[in-house]
Each structure stands twice: as structure tokens, then as C-alpha cells.
Symmetry: C2
Subunit: 410 residues, 2 copies
Amino acid sequence: MSHPVSPLAPKTITALPAVAGVRFATYAAGIRYQGRTDLMVAEMAPGTTVGGVFTKSLTASAPVDLCRENRKKGAARVLVVNAGNANAFTGKKGVAAVKTTVDAAVATFNCAPSEVFVSSTGTIGVPLPAEKIAAALPEAKKALSGDKASDAAHAIMTTDTFAKTATRTATIDGVNVTIIGFCKGAGMIAPDMATMLAYFFTDAKIDAPTAQYLAASAAEKSFNCMTVDSDTSTSDTLLLFATGQAKHAVVGHPHDPRLADFKAKLTDMMIELAKLVARDGEGASKFIEVKVTGAEHDKAAHRIAMSIANSPLVKTAVAGEDANWGRIVMAVGKSGERVDRDKLAIKIGGVDVARDGEAVPGYDETPVVAHMKGQEIVFEVNIGLGFGAATVWTCDFTHGYIDINGSYRT
Amino acid sequence: MSHPVSPLAPKTITALPAVAGVRFATYAAGIRYQGRTDLMVAEMAPGTTVGGVFTKSLTASAPVDLCRENRKKGAARVLVVNAGNANAFTGKKGVAAVKTTVDAAVATFNCAPSEVFVSSTGTIGVPLPAEKIAAALPEAKKALSGDKASDAAHAIMTTDTFAKTATRTATIDGVNVTIIGFCKGAGMIAPDMATMLAYFFTDAKIDAPTAQYLAASAAEKSFNCMTVDSDTSTSDTLLLFATGQAKHAVVGHPHDPRLADFKAKLTDMMIELAKLVARDGEGASKFIEVKVTGAEHDKAAHRIAMSIANSPLVKTAVAGEDANWGRIVMAVGKSGERVDRDKLAIKIGGVDVARDGEAVPGYDETPVVAHMKGQEIVFEVNIGLGFGAATVWTCDFTHGYIDINGSYRT
């Protein structure tokens, strides 16, 4: 299945530099797709630490179960990701397929089983032919290179219409470190073909609990502030690998002030990638930013913003270029958070359209209509109660989404 | 705006009989629609009691605020409902418009202000020209008749493609009583044009707290088990009026065994109407019943069933006639309720497709494919943990929904 590139795609895909201590390889294992790479392997230097966060789904896949377990040990040597089959809801066969992959990785790369991380994305409910992965690993090993991170970003795509990559240079204790990251996903989820996976690699020297804190806190401010269709995947996985090859002294506490720049850069690149996922949302024709202020507290603001971003009526109105702020009011009202109808204020594209619980009398619709015709839509909602603020990103809800998701799996 | 009649509409619309103590009138007040009735008035006999439930939205409309207040007093004489303008998010003007309507009803029908109930449905954020309603009431009064309940059901339609009516005869203490009901709504909500309103009238002699209990408990098992698009209205209103004209002794306790038949019939007709709303869901091409069993408790089952019924991916799969049970697994997983991936079982159209957390090996897809091509889709999910059960109803998610909700308001 292939779809035209999203009209919201960036003009160029960021090329990823090498990171000391990581090598990548891709391979066409023929798991589901023919004639394209569908497998990526990353080999990390001994001493690499890892942090990660995973789907909150209670029907998480077997690969997610493995990553969650191995993450606790905090050490990583190998990451294996395949596209085309999610190995989710595959019962005992799914657990066996993960074991086949881990065993092959241990044999090929001479590491501990707890140092292997595995992700699978694609159709669910179909047993994964892990023997194809096992057979590919020795071949992939021969092809390993520090320059192939961008290839890896391509190999894990499913319904994605473009590869999503980002990089930053941060300074720790006066030493430059590199961070690269890539992710795939065209829905917060569409479990039979596209779920969200995100991987970050850095040569920074940080211990595993610190890596865990950095991964979790940056994800909270980025990927957790993005939604395409409100459907949560069984496979969502985000991992941060730190090879420790940089020349600074090890950082062993997440609140160490030496991490300030790294933390900011990591969060920033995760936000960049999260926005790219929304831009590649299935059928998306417009990118939407929802900014909520004046809520009771930040969590309330986040829930209100997500209620707006997930509302089918708000999203179809945007697809129809309709500045329908009444639906924003509706979505605020159903969020469950404290609001006062008569204190709400709403801006669309920077123009005040509602204030004190009613339409701004005689506001000029012309700039608002023009804004709605653009590709970047901004909704601002002031709840008028407190200092809670949050920003989330999403896309509109179009005929393309119905086309993509209503088509038979075969 | 008019749309073709839903393919899921019943072959005939149930005609509503007269109920002793209630008279109806309709009127073309020209509030928004031209050339059709858009106002209904019901006059109830002195001594009529009332119960009701309302939207949980925290941005509820001014008419909802009024009904919620007056409901507490428990007595009703007049109901006034207009279509075309929801009088929601209209600030102080909205409160004033409600007062204008109530004052006119008091003057016209010689009742107390607390005995007047008002609903408005249609566009939100536009001031309601209540003077048109006030002017219409004396005219409407002249036209009152016990036989016009069906006309009333038509007058309150917005994006509805058919009128939704139901009736039952119940026995209380050996005496036959009549219940009629009608509702409008083509979305659990689409706030600028369609919200859910439901009214029930009976000649049963029951006190107000009993009416309240009956309305709330039947709504819980019917309308609260139905969703079109997960968007909650600012205007949802359900009212049960009991005129007390029947010849049985007054019933003053909701658990009085004499109410058993009435309670069952009222719940049954609310379920009938709730299903009709799903059948008229915006753009609907298929009606979906989701039955969950084996959950920890009934509330958990309800939340899991609603998570499935609200999932855009499940609903677009149904639109595409795709028996995509993987998306059902996803929706179960994101519900937040306790589940065990490896105990889940799923039937589609009565056929076992998944069991023990994986696909049933070699199940026959032929009857499942045939089922998905039909108009009545049944999903059964057994969680395998306890005895919690729930059934909910919804419709699929089609291009029609995008068309209806993406079009500009003007």
C-alpha cells in the first residue's frame, strides 16, 4: 500500500550524522513488503545505556513486553526493528518470535539477551516469520556502518509517506555531543499498519536512570502532546540509547545542571519529530496547533487541549476550512475539566472570535477565513480560571483518512 | 441543509397516540429554517410531574441550565422546543432569551415560571431571536391538540433524516397507561446543528422523585449506551412528563413493585429510540452493536464497549467492510480497564475469529466477510476475567460524516 506524500511534509528530510558508538544496517527481509528494506539493525558499543517509554495499552505486543523488561536492566547492545508485521495479538507464537530474534541477535552480536531490544510494526494478529529476521542478522552485520541512520529511518516506515528524522548538537560539561533521532507513525495509531516507534542515539555519557528520566520527560512534552486519531497503539515504543563515547565525565543524575542543554535539545528534537508525525497523519491536509491557557493547572490544560485535538467535529470542520469555534466550546465542555462557560475566550489564527462566553460582536471574519484556508491552523483557548497551560499538535480529519482506514487489509 | 434519508431508517415511522393530559402544537416560527415547522409546544395538565437528565458538558447551554433548575421543583405545565438555533454559548443574551420564552409561556398558559421547560437545538454561538418564539406561543396555543405528537417529533429535527418516535402501553396496578416518546439527534453530537433531545409523556400517576429515578435509570441503559462520534453536546436533554391522568393510585416510590412493567417498557422504548439515533448517525451506512462480556464489572464492560464504539479506526474499518478485529483489540487495550491480552476472545457476526489472545487458526472467513457486507454488524468481545457485561450501539464512520461536518456553516 502506498499513498501520495503528505502535502504537509517538510521540503527536505534531515540527513542524520554518525554518532560515535552506533552502527546501522538495513535489509530487505521480505517479511511483508516486497522490493524494499523492511528491517533495521543498530549495533551499539559496550557500555551503552538505555531509557525508554512504551504504550500504555493493556494489550501491548510481545516486543513491547520484552523492551519494557530489558529497559529495567539499563544496558543495550542491539536494536532490531522490522516493518510490515507488528507481532501483536499473536499469543504464544508472538513470544516465541521475539525469542527467536533475541537468540539470533545474541549469537550474531555476542551480547547478553537483556541487551537486545526488538520492535515490530505493521499488521497485527498475523504470526511473525522471525526466522527471516534471524537469517538476515548475519548479513546485516556485514553491512553495518555509522552513516546509515537515515536508511534505518526509511526501513521502518509503514503508511508513513516520508521519513521522520532530527538531529542536534548539545554541550555537556563543555564537550559537544551528538543526538540523532527518527520515528515512524502516521497515526497515534492504526494498529494493522502503522504505529509509533521512535529511537534516539547519542554519544553522551549518562547512566541508565538518567537516560530513562530524559526519555520519559522529553516524551511527555512532545509525543504525548500529539494525536492523529485518538487511537492508542499496542506497539508504541520510544528508546534513547547513550553510547558514552563522548569525552565528558559520566553524568549520573537527571537534574545535574550539566544536562540542561542536552535536555533542552532532546526535548526540542522530540517536538520536531512529534510534529512531523502529525504532519504525516493519515489523510492530513492541515496541521493544527491547539494552545490552551488559563486552566486550573497544566494537566487540566493538557486534557482540554487533547479533547479539542481529538474531536472528530473539530477536525472535520478544519478539513472543511470552517472556523467553527462552537465545536471548540463543545470539546472544552466534554473534557471533564473545570471550566466556566462565560469566561472562555477563543482565538483563531490570532484573531479574537469569542470572549466572555459569546462571539466577539462584529469580529472581522476575513482574516479568520484566510487563516482556515492555510495549511497551518492555530487555535488558542483561554479558560480564564488559572495558570495551567499546554500545547498539542494534530491534523485534520479528511476523506483521505476514511480511504486509508476503510480499505480491506489484503 | 438536507441530507438523503439514512439507509438504516426504519421502514415506517411509529405514529404516536394521544396521552391524557398532554396537547401539542407546532409552528413555523422562521428562526432559521424557512418553509418548515421549527417550534413545538406541549401543554401538560396541572399536577404533571417531571424527571430528567442533562448533558454532563461543562459548557451546557442556557436552556439546559433552566431545565436543570426547574426539574428540581418537579412540576411541569409547558415545554417549548425550537430547532435551528441552540442558544448555546450566547452569554447573557442566551439567559435573556430563555427568560423571554419563559415569560411568554407564563403569560400564555397561566402557569408558574418553574413549570416551564425550554430546549433549543441548532447552531451555537448565534443569539436566539426569542421574540419570534414569544410571538408564536399565543398562535400555537390555539392549535393545541392531543393528536399532534408526531408533528412535534418532526418540528424539532435538525440534521436528522427521519423522525424518531416510540410508544408503549404499560400496566400499573392493573390499569393501562400510555407512554409516548420522541427524540432528535444525528450525532451524540454535532453542536452547530444537531444535538440530542428526547421527550417522554405518560398519563401514569407518579410523583416527581419517582419520575426522576425512572428517567435517569432508563437513560443509563439506553441513550448512555449509544454514541455516534464521541462528541458530547452542550444541549443534551431528556425529560419524562407524567400527567397523572391515569386512574391508578399514585406511585410514590421508584422501587414500588407496581412500576415493574412501566419501568421495563420505558427502558425498552428508550433503547428503541437510542438505536434510531445511531441509525441516523451522520453519514451512517451500517448499524453496529458491541457486546462486551467477561469484564471485571459492568462499568468496566461499558467503558470497553464505548472505547470500541468510539474508535475511528474500528468505525472506518466497518465502513470499509473490513473484519479488522485487530483494531478491536487495540480499542480494548486503550480503554484503561483491566484486560489480559492472552484471554481475549472476539466474535464477528457470531463467528469466533480470535481466542486466547490470537487468531482462531484457520477460521472460515466466508461468513464473516458476508456479515461485514450487511447493514447490521455485531461485535462480541469476551474479556475472560469476570462477569461484567454491557452492550452499546453506534454506526460506522464514512465519507458522509466528513461531508456533513466539513461543510461551511453558511
